[in-house]
Amino acid sequence: MSDIVNYHLTVNGVDYPVNAAQGRNLLSVIRTEVGLTGTKEGCDDCECGACMVLLDGQPVNSCSFLAVQAQGRAVTTVEGLQQGDEMHPLQRNILEEGGVQCGFCTPGMLLSATALLERNPSPTEEEVRIGLSGNLCRCTGYAKIVAAVQRTAAELHP
């Protein structure tokens, strides 16, 4: 029996037809079938957060979520954050604060931060750290990433 299933995914507002094995994870379908490679594979084990995407606005580790289970829901990847030609304020601030070194964790960080600010527009430093606690960064030591999120919160909700 074939385990290939046909369905549609909505990624950053665009509809994509998908034919993929039933057990494929959302991360691999986004990267290879949809063709958006901003979402990263780190541990492939639900630990590091490099693969974070939003599903109906809420954070999900896409390496450990079935792609078929995301049909009919709105998937947001890092490519969906920028507003026209403008970077999202979080993207601008993480660069300006020096919160990007190798950049591998950055897409996941940005999506966790987006979900956090949506739920809690003015988080304390502790709340930012909890909000990003599913995202590992091997380079920055986190302080500048936290600062970028707090700066964004202050800009959006002065």
Binding site: M1, S2, D3, V5, Q22, G23, N25, D44, D45, C46, E47, G49, M52, Q58, P59, V60, N61, C63, S64, F65, L66, V68, Q69, Q71, G72, S112, A115, L116, E126, R129, I130, G131, S133, G134, N135
Partner: protein
């Protein structure tokens, strides 16, 4: 191979009756399959879009929490985090924000891990799981549901639709703490929950304590005498350490687990008593208690 998305409980029960396994958030099922723990079931029915499983119904008698309610909601729900604070303590410790967003109460309960963080709180709150199949519906207490690590007494065609918890008596509340080495993406080294009722004279008139990650299932501690909060906390600690049957593994030795589960039990009784007296003790107790390395 099949994958269906159920939108009603009936659709899910039909699928289970023909051999499908439910997937809610997939944070145990899919992650476990990726670890090679067990292959992904051939026939799956997604239950995360069934609105009947998302309800939190409160009456004077108690609360009914749909099996599909996620940990983020349980952590922040105003009634749950006040009247059933120990349960919110448990949910607030699960994984990371994304794990709490996808992971459901029903998935946690039916995964039946001895390290599950909602387990001890549900046990001390006297919770019951409502299991439903095409054959009918029944309610099972936690002690009868969990039969071993990853094992439970529900039949393959039974869906957990809700968790029922009676409203605690006045001057009662609960708390759950776990020993962890860091503050997120952690598994309980050991944990303990307590539910406490405080009499008018300030003494403890009822206490229940349950333990996490020190036996093949969540276990309830027996034979804790009543008395002042300090006396009951000390008795709970001694009984917890004595009744625990921990193993040694990469995370801790059995000796260390036996000792620290007593410490968790004592602190859980103390925190539950403070809450029962109306003192604000924020959810999760772990964070206020400074357990886990600084984030």
């Amino acid at each position: 191979m099949s994958f269906t998305i159920a939108t009603t409980i009936d659709e899910a029960l039909q699928a289970l009756a023909t051999g499908a396994r439910p997937v809610a958030g997939g944070s145990d099922l899919v992650v476990g399959a990726r670890h090679g723990k067990a292959p992904l079931p051939e026939h799956l029915v997604a239950i995360d879009r069934i609105s009947e499983l998302q309800c939190i119904d409160v009456t004077d008698l108690g609360v009914c929490i749909g099996a599909g309610v996620n940990h983020h909601i349980i952590e922040h729900h105003p009634l749950l985090s006040n009247a059933f604070a120990g349960l919110s303590d448990g949910s607030a410790l699960v994984g990371s924000p994304s794990t709490r967003n996808v992971g459901t109460l029903g998935g946690n309960v039916m995964n039946s891990s001895p390290a599950m963080d909602t387990g001890s709180p549900l046990m001390v709150l006297g919770a019951e799981a409502e299991l439903r199949s095409l054959r009918g519906s029944r309610r099972v207490g936690m002690a009868d549901l969990w039969t071993g690590p990853g094992r439970h007494s529900a039949e393959a065609d039974e869906l957990c639709v809700a968790i029922h918890i009676a409203m605690p008596a006045s001057r009662s509340n609960s708390a759950y703490l776990r020993l962890e080495y860091r503050r997120s993406m952690e598994i309980a080294v050991v944990g303990a929950a307590a539910a406490v009722t405080i009499a008018d004279d300030g003494s403890v008139s009822a206490v229940r304590v349950a333990l996490t990650a020190v036996a093949p299932t969540i276990i309830e501690v027996t034979g804790i005498g009543l008395g002042s909060v300090a006396e009951v906390a000390a008795a709970a600690a001694a009984a917890a350490s004595e009744q625990a049957r921990p193993i040694s593994d990469v995370r801790a030795s059995d000796k260390y687990r036996r000792h620290t589960v007593g410490v968790m039990a004592r602190r859980a009784v103390e925190a539950a008593a403070r809450r029962a007296l109306g003192e604000p003790v924020s959810v999760p107790v772990n964070r206020a208690a400074g357990i886990g390395a600084a984030s």
